[in-house]
C-alpha cells in the first residue's frame, strides 16, 4: 500500500488531525517524514514520577489556553517489555479536551529498549511544529531519574514533584532534578506541599550557580485538580518562551533535536535488525558468537570486512564524474605524495571504492596501467590485529610485498598477487580497531 506522504504533510498545515495522526503512525512504523522545520512551537516537557499528576496538570493548563492557539499533547506510556503491548490511560484525565478544535492529543507507547523517548516522539514533535502548533506538551513516562532525554527536545522542562516524595537529599540527586526549568510541587492542595516547596527552593539556589544559565529555575506550587497556581504557571511558561525567542535559544535548540533524532532513529533501526536476526540470536545463545562479536556484526562493524576496492584510472576527474552520475557520494581528489597517486573516494555504506590516478611515471599505479590497463588495482580488508593476520598469511604459504608500514589510517601491508590468484590484497589495521 503506498501512502501519499506529501499530501498528508500538506494537509497538516490546516491542522487536519486525521492527517497529523496518520503521519505520526507512519513515523511510529519507522517511516522518514521529510519536513523543513521552522521553529514556532513552545515544546514543553512534563516529567516526574508516575502518579505525580502530569496528565492532570496538562489538562489544567491546556483548557486555559485561548482557543485561537493550537495545542498538541503527546502523552507517553510504557510498552510492556514482555508482550510489546501497552495500556494507555493518560487520556482519561484529558478527555474533556478531545473535542476542542484547537487541541490534538496523541497517546504514544515507548516501544523498544530505552524506556524514555523514542524516534517517533521526535518525529511527532516535528510534524506538530510543522502543522503550526503553538504549544506542544510532551508527557514523559515518568520513569524517574533516568527520564532525561526530553531536555534535548523540549524548550522548557517542568519537573513535577508531589508532596511527601522524599527529603532534601532526594531533591539534591542527579538526573531528573538537574533538568528542570520550572519545578512544580504538584497536588499542592494539602499541608505537606509546603515542606516539599522549601526543599526544592533550597535545591534550586544551589544548582543555579553551577549551571550558569540566564534562566533561574523556578519553584511553584500547583494543584492541577483544583486549578491553583495554573494561571501563574502558564504566565511563567509564556515569559520563558518570549525570552527563548529573544535570545535566539529557540532556533539553536533545533540542533539538539536533530542530534537526538539521529540517535533515537539509530536505536530504532538496531532494534528492528535485532528482532529480525534470529540466527544471530541463536549463535549467541549456543555460544558460537560472543555477545561482543554479535553486537559488532549487528552494527556492520565485524572484522575482517571489505575496507575498499581500489581502481586504477587514467583520468580521475572523468572517472569520478561517472560515479557521481550514478548518484553516489564522491569525495574531492586528494594527493598522496608518498604513494605517487591522486585519490578520489566513492562512499558506499560501510565500505568504499578508491579511484587512483598516478602522479608520475615511477608510481606503481603507472606501471600497473602500462602493463594491465585500467581496472581493479587492489582489494583492501580491515583486520582486527595485523600481526596475528600476518601469521595466518605465512601459515597459508602466501608472500607479503614487504613489511607493514604506517599509512594515513593505520598500519598496512599487502599480499603479493603472484601468491594470491592475481589479487593484490591490502591488509589494514586501523588505529583504533575496537571503536
Amino acid at each position: 500500500m503506498s501512502v501519499d506522504i506529501n499530501g498528508l504533510i500538506e494537509r497538516t498545515r490546516n491542522w487536519d488531525k486525521a492527517a497529523i495522526a496518520r503521519l505520526i503512525t507512519l513515523a511510529e512504523e519507522g517511516v522518514e517524514i521529510p519536513l523543513n522545520i521552522q521553529r514556532r512551537s513552545h515544546v514543553i516537557g512534563i516529567t516526574g514520577p508516575p502518579g505525580s499528576g502530569k496528565s492532570t496538570l496538562i489538562y489544567a493548563m491546556a483548557r486555559k489556553i485561548p482557543q485561537d492557539r493550537r495545542v498538541a499533547i503527546l502523552t507517553i506510556d510504557p510498552s510492556s517489555p514482555f508482550t510489546g503491548g501497552s495500556f494507555m490511560g493518560n487520556r482519561i484525565r484529558m478527555q474533556e479536551l478531545t473535542s476542542k478544535p484547537n487541541i490534538y492529543i496523541r497517546s504514544m507507547a515507548t516501544r523498544g529498549i530505552r524506556g524514555g523517548l523514542n524516534y517517533a516522539t521526535i518525529a511527532a514533535v516535528n510534524i506538530l511544529e510543522y502543522a503550526g502548533a503553538d504549544y506542544i506538551f510532551i508527557e514523559t513516562v515518568g520513569a524517574g531519574q533516568s527520564d532525561t532525554d526530553v531536555k534535548y527536545v523540549a524548550d522548557t522542562i517542568l519537573v513535577l514533584v508531589p508532596p511527601l516524595s522524599g527529603d532534601e537529599i532526594q531533591a539534591l540527586k542527579s538526573g531528573l532534578m538537574e533538568i528542570g526549568d520550572i519545578y512544580v510541587v504538584s497536588k499542592s492542595d494539602n499541608q505537606a506541599s509546603e515542606s516539599t516547596y522549601r526543599d526544592l527552593l533550597a535545591m534550586v539556589d544551589m544548582v543555579r550557580e553551577v549551571k550558569g544559565d540566564s534562566w533561574k529555575p523556578i519553584v511553584i506550587k500547583v494543584s492541577g485538580l483544583y486549578g491553583y497556581g495554573v494561571d501563574e504557571l502558564l504566565k511563567l511558561i509564556d515569559d520563558r518562551f518570549r525570552e527563548l525567542v529573544n535570545n535566539g535559544k529557540l532556533n539553536e535548540s533545533l540542533t539538539n533535536r536533530r542530534l537526538l533524532e539521529m540517535r533515537l532513529y539509530a536505536y530504532d533501526l538496531l532494534e528492528k535488525r535485532f528482532a529480525k536476526d534470529k540466527e544471530l540470536e541463536n549463535d549467541v545463545a549456543n555460544g558460537k558468537l560472543s555477545p561482543q562479536e554479535a553486537a559488532r556484526r549487528l552494527l556492520g562493524m565485524e572484522l575482517p570486512r571489505l575496507d575498499h576496492v581500489a581502481v586504477a584510472v587514467r583520468d580521475i576527474n572523468n572517472a569520478a564524474e561517472k560515479f557521481r552520475r550514478l548518484g553516489l557520494k564522491v569525495g574531492d581528489p586528494i594527493i598522496v605524495e608518498e604513494q605517487g597517486v591522486k585519490v578520489v573516494m566513492v562512499w558506499l555504506g560501510n565500505t568504499r571504492i578508491e579511484l587512483l590516478e598516478p602522479l608520475n611515471q615511477s608510481s606503481t599505479v603507472a606501471k600497473f596501467l602500462e602493463n594491465r590497463g585500467e581496472g581493479i588495482h587492489h582489494i583492501a580488508l580491515e583486520v582486527n590485529d595485523l600481526d596475528e593476520f600476518i601469521k595466518r598469511v605465512q601459515g597459508a604459504g602466501l608472500t607479503l610485498t614487504g613489511k607493514p608500514s604506517k599509512g594515513a589510517e593505520g598500519i598496512v601491508t599487502f599480499i603479493h598477487p603472484k601468491s594470491l590468484n592475481g589479487v593484490l590484497l591490502e591488509l589494514v589495521q586501523r588505529r583504533i580497531s575496537n571503536e
Binding site: 486525521a18 503512525t25 503491548g85 497517546s107
Partner: protein, 131 residues
C-alpha cells in the same frame, strides 16, 4: 512491526468500567496498544479520539441499556467524519437488539461470559494481525 492501536471506551452515563478495563488490559497483554478513554464518553468524543490516535478499531462497553441510541449516534458521526474502522460492542445487550446493532454496521456484539481469548482473536482478525 506495526502495532495496531485500539480504543476502548465507555459510552454514556455508565460507571461500570470493570469489564472495559479487563478487556483493555487483556488486549494490551496480547500485544496491542490500547487507549482507554475512561467512563462517560460521548459518541463524538470517542470518534475524535479514534481519529487523533489513528486507531484501527473501537471497542465500546455499555451496561446502561442506552446502546441503541448511543451506538447509533456513534456510527452516524463516524460516517460523517469519514472514519471507517470496525466497532465492537460489549456489555448487557438483549438478544433482540443484537441484530439491530449488527445492521447498523457494528462488527460484533459480545456479552458477559465471552472468553477473553475469543475477543483477542476477533480483534486480531478485524485489524489484520497475522498469527
Amino acid at each position: 512491526m506495526p502495532k495496531p492501536k485500539v480504543i476502548i471506551a465507555k459510552l454514556g452515563l455508565d460507571g461500570h468500567d470493570r469489564g472495559a478495563k479487563v478487556i483493555a488490559r487483556a488486549l494490551a497483554e496480547a500485544g496491542f496498544e490500547v487507549v482507554y478513554t475512561g467512563i462517560r464518553q460521548t459518541p463524538s468524543q470517542v470518534v475524535e479520539t479514534a481519529i487523533q490516535e489513528d486507531a484501527k478499531l473501537i471497542g465500546i462497553s455499555i451496561l446502561s441499556g442506552s446502546h441503541m441510541e448511543l451506538v447509533g449516534e456513534l456510527m452516524r458521526i463516524m460516517r460523517e467524519r469519514g472514519l471507517n474502522i470496525p466497532v465492537l460492542v460489549g456489555g448487557i445487550i438483549p438478544p433482540e437488539d443484537r441484530e439491530a446493532l449488527l445492521k447498523m454496521g457494528v462488527a460484533g456484539v459480545y456479552g458477559p461470559g465471552t472468553p477473553l481469548r475469543e475477543i483477542i482473536e476477533i480483534v486480531k482478525k478485524l485489524v489484520g494481525v497475522q498469527q
